[in-house]
């Protein structure tokens, strides 16, 4: 059979953000792919050095739509380290709460997209319906469904009142019921397993060679999770399980993220039940003394790396962001060779690409 090249992207029903793959196929076998990035490159790092630190919070939140809060959390922790201020405990817990809720809604979104692309529209509709519960609670707390603007340098902007706490705990217990039902359905559904089991396995050597992080690495057995290995407060005071699986195929990546959702729900409840009283912010000076800092946090897709250098003014000298999707894009051509054409959606969706994050 002769080789034909199908273009997936920059616009295709398969991908949510523009990225271009030219996939060479022969019959029903994929031979390789040619990838092109940069369609959503906005030059965030360059824009950041032209704005002051507070304006940059607004900018950094818009690097990505799904993991917006964790980006600003990393940035604010970096600036606060440079300033030498320690934010109150209550603010730390509120930041962690929003991070975990973001993890839940990101995994629910991703699961819906994967299900839709393999033809299980029903799971897509159900998970996105559950996602609405999380988004509505985040809107009640912060005023925004997707970009919350909760962080500020020195603490958080919104407090969690006892009413909010009750609402959140009710929502989390309903969500836990839905996630357990989802796990049960996925465990018993033969068609989902038939489409994802054994597809595109990634070995531990490949993970280490491409520096892949996050749920993809954990699905292959590499036990890394920055919430436990290099914790920002308050994760050093919270107990949770890090889920790993051994097979490294698409099914492992799927079921691992659903189990991570359950852990995040547990974490949210722990945070809400142990919320310390106190202020939610402290006053931080505008001019940041010269220095450089590295902040690493666990975004829903893996390790998020921020490097910040200041020069004594109120604008940063250099901001460098390395998002977890970038190494995942690196391993994609290796995954895309020698699979069926019908497995392309499983692989692309399983990697959980967030191109806006990768392109910045």
């Amino acid at each position: 059979m002769n080789k034909i090249s199908i273009p997936i992207g920059p616009q295709h029903p398969l991908i949510k953000e523009p990225i271009s793959f030219n996939i060479d196929i022969s019959g029903e076998r994929v031979l390789g792919c040619d990838m092109r990035l940069g369609y959503v490159h906005r030059g965030i790092e360059r824009l950041a050095i032209k704005r002051n630190y507070t304006q940059n919070i607004h900018l950094i939140e818009r690097v990505c739509g799904i993991c917006s809060h964790v980006h600003t959390t990393a940035y604010c922790y970096g600036v606060e380290k440079l300033l030498g201020v320690e934010i109150p405990e209550r603010a730390q817990y509120i930041r962690a709460l929003m991070c975990e809720m973001e993890r839940i809604h990101s995994h629910l979104l991703w699961l819906g997209i994967l299900a839709k692309h393999i033809g299980l529209d029903t799971i897509f509709m159900h998970t996105w319906h559950d996602r609405e519960m999380v988004l509505d609670s985040m809107e009640v707390i912060s005023g925004g469904r997707v970009t919350h603007a909760v962080n500020k340098i020195g603490g958080v902007r919104c407090d969690i009142t006892p009413d909010h706490q009750d609402m959140l705990l009710t929502m989390l217990s309903e969500l836990r019921v839905q996630v357990d039902k989802l796990l049960e359905v996925m465990d018993h559904d033969g068609s989902l397993k038939a489409r994802t089991k054994g597809v595109a396995p990634i070995t531990v050597e490949q993970i280490k060679a491409y520096c892949v992080v996050g749920p993809i690495a954990r699905a292959s057995g590499v036990d890394i999770d920055l919430r436990r290995d290099a914790p920002l407060p308050p994760y050093d005071r919270l107990e949770f399980n890090v889920i790993t699986r051994q097979d490294g195929d698409a099914w492992s990546r799927t079921i691992l993220r659903v189990e991570e959702m359950r852990e995040s729900i547990n974490l949210c409840e722990k945070i809400l039940n142990n919320l310390p009283v106190g202020a939610i912010e402290i006053r931080a000076p505008r001019k940041v003394p010269p220095g450089e800092v590295i902040v690493r946090t666990e975004a829903p897709r893996g390790e998020l790396f921020y490097y910040l250098r200041s020069n004594g003014t109120d604008m940063p000298a250099r901001l460098k962001i390395r998002t977890p999707t970038l190494p995942a894009l690196g391993i994609l051509p290796a995954q895309l060779s020698s699979i069926h054409v019908a497995d392309i959606p499983v692989v692309l969706a399983g990697v959980d690409l967030c191109i806006a994050c990768a392109d910045r």
């Binding site: 034909i4 393999i118 033809g119 529209d121 159900h126 054409v341 019908a342 392309i344």
Partner: protein, 299 residues
């Protein structure tokens, strides 16, 4: 013309599409469309701009859905609806199966004639799928013919009036026929030719406007006639009273539509190699076994 002719088939096709979309929506915790939504969609499609890529043959591209529509509506003449049929002759079951397969071949040609990589892939896949489900379907549909001793659908219907519905004698054959029907109608889990995530819209990617509207009509009529055929072959005529037979026919159609919509809601799409494996390694042997038992029963 009116019953059970072209207008009737067209209206039944619209009702089928509405019911299918409504049931699917309820499975997905949604509300679903109003009853005139399929008709509204067709009217909207007719008002859209009708274009094709450079290099495609406009005449063939327009002729393909019209020929398919003519074929399925002709097949409708021989399929009894609650006992009423236009005409019949010995062997019309074979003609019906052939006429209901013409849309699949036309789909492939539509993929070839609309110049574009997704259309070509979708059309090729529809032929691959055709080879995997058509043989089990024909084997399953031959069962009632052999049991009744006739290849005429109306004759099979009359024989079931004496012996009872054939589904009691060959339930496995009914299951195979349903799977074959899902493959023929290109519904989930066998909607591989039009898998949105891989080939955008399959062979009909480049179709818009009136031509696409006719394709949708073809698919709806093909679906409802396939359901009617299965009801006639496996459920038979349960009552002599024409009004009661009509009501029972409606109930049977609704049950079949619920069955098809449920199957489309709860399964993920199959991969083409999984379908080919299942078709030839599981369905065909089971079908032949069922046929063997049917021949024994006939004797």
């Amino acid at each position: 013309m009116i019953f059970p002719g072209l207008f009737f088939q067209f209206t039944c096709g619209l009702l089928f599409e509405w019911l299918d979309r409504k049931i699917l929506a309820r499975f997905q915790r949604r509300v679903g469309p109003r009853i005139i939504q399929p008709l509204a969609d067709l009217i909207k499609l007719f008002s859209k701009e009708d274009l094709l890529p450079i290099g495609s043959n406009e005449t063939i591209a327009t002729a393909l859905p019209l020929v398919s529509l003519a074929a399925v509506m002709t097949a409708g003449f021989y399929i009894p609806v609650a006992g009423f049929y236009r005409s019949s002759f010995e062997g019309d079951l074979i003609v019906i199966i052939f006429l209901l397969s013409i849309p699949t071949l036309a789909y492939y040609l539509a993929g070839v004639v609309s110049v574009g990589i997704y259309s070509l892939l979708g059309g090729g896949r529809s032929l691959l799928q055709f080879f995997s489900y058509e043989v089990p379907l024909i084997i399953a549909l031959s069962g009632p013919a052999i049991l009744a001793g006739s290849w005429s659908v109306s004759q099979i219907l009359k024989t079931q009036g004496d012996f009872g519905p054939f589904i009691l004698y060959q339930p496995v054959g009914f299951g195979l026929a349903v799977i074959g029907l899902i493959g023929k109608l290109k519904r989930n889990p066998l909607d591989i030719p039009k898998a949105k995530s891989e080939v955008v819209a399959g062979a009909l990617t480049e179709y818009t406007g009136g031509k696409l509207a006719f394709w949708r009509i073809v698919m709806n009529v093909q679906a409802i006639l396939g359901i009617f055929l299965l009801i006639n072959l496996f459920f038979g005529q349960l009552s002599a009273n024409p009004y009661l037979a009509g009501i029972i026919f409606i109930i049977e159609s609704l049950l079949m539509i619920v069955l098809l919509s449920t199957a489309s809601a709860i399964f993920a799409r199959m991969r083409i190699d999984q379908l080919a494996g299942m078709g030839w390694r599981i369905l065909v042997p089971i079908g032949l076994l069922q046929l063997f038992f049917v021949i024994l029963m006939g004797v």
